[in-house]
Symmetry: C2
Subunit: 317 residues, 2 copies
C-alpha cells in the first residue's frame, strides 16, 4: 500500500501527477490541514510536501504527530521553521539546483526585456502607433549589452548560471555574496559596492534574516538612474516600498520582477509602471524544471520511507 503524504501548499494538480503515482496524496491545498482532514487521517501522516516559501511553523507540524519529513518542492525552504523541525526530529529536504537553469533564464529574460523595453515595443506595434508614426519617448534607443556591468547578488547555482548567460551577451560580470567563490568573475566586498559598480543588479540570494530588505533605498540610490534591478529570488530581498518610490521618482531606470513581498501580487502602483516587467513567480516554471524538482521530491520521499537519509537534504539544518 502506498505511503500517505500530505500536500501542504496550494499546487496545480498537474505538478503532483507523477508523485501521486507513487504515494497516496492528501491535498490540503493551502488550507490548515486540520480544517481539511480529520485528526485520525492526520495521525497517519509521516511526510509532507510544501512550497519552500509557504510559512510552516511548529504548530502546523504538531497537527501530524508522526511527521518525520518535510519535503520542499523547489530550491527554497525559507518558509520552514528549521529550528522547530529540528526540535521535533523532522528532516527537511528540497530540490537544490533542479530549477537553476529555468530561474536563471527568467532572470536574463527580465533583464533583456526591461532594458530593451520589450513590452512598450510590442505595444507600439499592436496599437498601431508604429504604423501611425506616433512618436514614443519609450522607443528611444537605450544602452545595449556589450560592456554593460551586471552585478549578481548571490553566487549559488542560479547566480552562476545567470553569470554564464550574461557573459555571453558581452556584459561584464561582478558579484557579491557571503563568501568568495571559485568563479571567473570579479568579487566586490559589499552589496553597496556592487550596486555602485553595476547598471543591472540581479538578486539571486536565498531568503533569510541576512538578506531581508537587503536591497533598500540606499542600494537603489547607488544603482542610480540608469540602473535596473532584477529579482528572481524572493520578494523579501527587496524593500518593495522603497523600490516603488525609486521607480516613481526615477532614482532607477526600471525593474524586472518574478517575486514579490506578498504573492500573488495584486494590481497596485507597482503594476502601473511602464518600465517594469512583471512575471507571476514562474522562474522555475518549465517542464524540465518541474520534472527535475519532482524527481528530487520523489527521491527524498522514497529515501525517507526506506529509512535512508534524504539525498537532497537541507544542509544547514
Amino acid at each position: 500500500m502506498p505511503q500517505k503524504v500530505l500536500i501542504f501548499s496550494r499546487f496545480p494538480k498537474a505538478l503532483m501527477l507523477r508523485i501521486g503515482e507513487r504515494f497516496d496524496l492528501l491535498d490540503a491545498a493551502g488550507k490548515p490541514p486540520n480544517e481539511v482532514f480529520s485528526t485520525d487521517e492526520l495521525s497517519g501522516i509521516r511526510a509532507m510536501i510544501t512550497a519552500g516559501g509557504t510559512p510552516l511553523g511548529g504548530g502546523m507540524m504538531d497537527m501530524m504527530p508522526k511527521l518525520g519529513a518535510i519535503v520542499c518542492y523547489g530550491t527554497g525552504y525559507d518558509g520552514v521553521d528549521l529550528a522547530a523541525a529540528a526540535g521535533r526530529k523532522i528532516v527537511v529536504g528540497h530540490s537544490p539546483g533542479a530549477n537553476a537553469a529555468s530561474v536563471a533564464d527568467i532572470a536574463v529574460t527580465l533583464m533583456l526585456a526591461v532594458t530593451r523595453r520589450l513590452l512598450p515595443a510590442d505595444n507600439y506595434v499592436r496599437s498601431g502607433n508604429w504604423s501611425d508614426a506616433k512618436p514614443s519617448p519609450l522607443m528611444r534607443p537605450q544602452p545595449g549589452n556589450p560592456g554593460r556591468k551586471v552585478g549578481i547578488y548571490g553566487m549559488g547555482e542560479i547566480g552562476r548560471k545567470i553569470a554564464a548567460r550574461v557573459a555571453a551577451f558581452e556584459c561584464e560580470v561582478a558579484y557579491f555574496s557571503r563568501s568568495r567563490h571559485d568563479v571567473p568573475y570579479q568579487y566586490l566586498p559589499s552589496l553597496e559596492a556592487l550596486a555602485e559598480w553595476c547598471s543591472v543588479l540581479m538578486i539571486a540570494v536565498r531568503a533569510g534574516a541576512d538578506t531581508h530588505h537587503a536591497v533598500n533605498a540606499n542600494i537603489l540610490q547607488k544603482l542610480g538612474k540608469d540602473g535596473y534591478v532584477v529579482n528572481i529570488a524572493r520578494g523579501s530581498a527587496i524593500d518593495q516600498q522603497a523600490l516603488v518610490a525609486a521607480l516613481a521618482d526615477e532614482t532607477i531606470a526600471g525593474a524586472g520582477l518574478d517575486v514579490y513581498e506578498k504573492e500573488p501580487h495584486a494590481p497596485d502602483v507597482l503594476t502601473a509602471f511602464p518600465n517594469v516587467v512583471l512575471t507571476p513567480h514562474v522562474g522555475g516554471h518549465t517542464l524540465d524544471a518541474h520534472t527535475a524538482m519532482q524527481n528530487c521530491v520523489i527521491a527524498n520521499l522514497e529515501a525517507y520511507f526506506a529509512g535512508r537519509p534524504l539525498p537532497y537534504a537541507v544542509r544547514n539544518l
Copy 2:
C-alpha cells in the same frame, strides 16, 4: 565648407546629429528628393545616406547627376539597386557588424520572451488574474532552454552572435547557410533539414533573391507544432501569409518578429495572436549600435570625399 550629403530615407533627427556636425545634411525624409529640393540643390550632391531596406533605383540616383557614393546606415543594402549604382560608377557602403550584437540580442530576447510567454505572464500579473487565481492555459509550463535545439539560418556576424548567446543557455545549436563556416556548430545541408531538426528557427540571413520567402509553408510545417520562428533579418525572408496561416492553425507554437514584409506593420490578424512577440524593427536600435553605425557612415563619407576607397564598402558590388 562642409560637403553636402542628402539624407534619403526617413531617420529620427537624433540619429543624424553627429553626422550633421561634419557634413551639410539635406534631409529628404523619405520623400523623392526632387519633391523636396530644387534641381540646382540636387546637382551639387555627391553623396547620400540611406536605410539599406529603402528601395533606391537608378531613376532616383539620376536625380543627382554628381552622385558618387551611397552610404547605407546599417548592415543591410538590399534596397539599393547595386547594378544601377555600378553602371553609374557610384560606390556603395554600409556598416557591417556595427549592430550585430544589438540585433543578436533582440533575437534572443524574442526567443526567450515567446518561449516563456513573457507578455501573457506580465499581463497575468497586471490584470489581477494572478491575485484572483484565475486559471490561464497560457501560463502552463513550457519546455525550457537546456537541450533546446536552436537552428540558425545564416551564419554572418549576427548569426555567430546569436549562436554564442543561445549556447550559453545550454541550447544545442545547428545552422544552415550558403556555405560552411569555421564555427563550432553543426552544419545542416538545407533549410528544410534545419527546420526539421530545430525547435526554434532563427532567421539571420541577408535579404535577396535566394532568401526571398525562404521560410514558407513547407518550412513552417517542418518546424512543427512545438516550434517557434524568430526573424530579425528582413521581412522578405518569411512568407508572411504562410506564417499567419501556420499560427492560426497551430502548425507552429509561436513567433518573435522584429521585421515584416511591409514596414511599419499595421495592426492586423498577425498582431492579434497572443503567442507572438512583435517589435518595431528595433534590432539595431541601441545607443552603442547607433554610435557604431554612425562611425561607419562618417568614415565612409570622409574617405569618399578625400578620394579614398570606402573603408566599409559593400563587397559583392
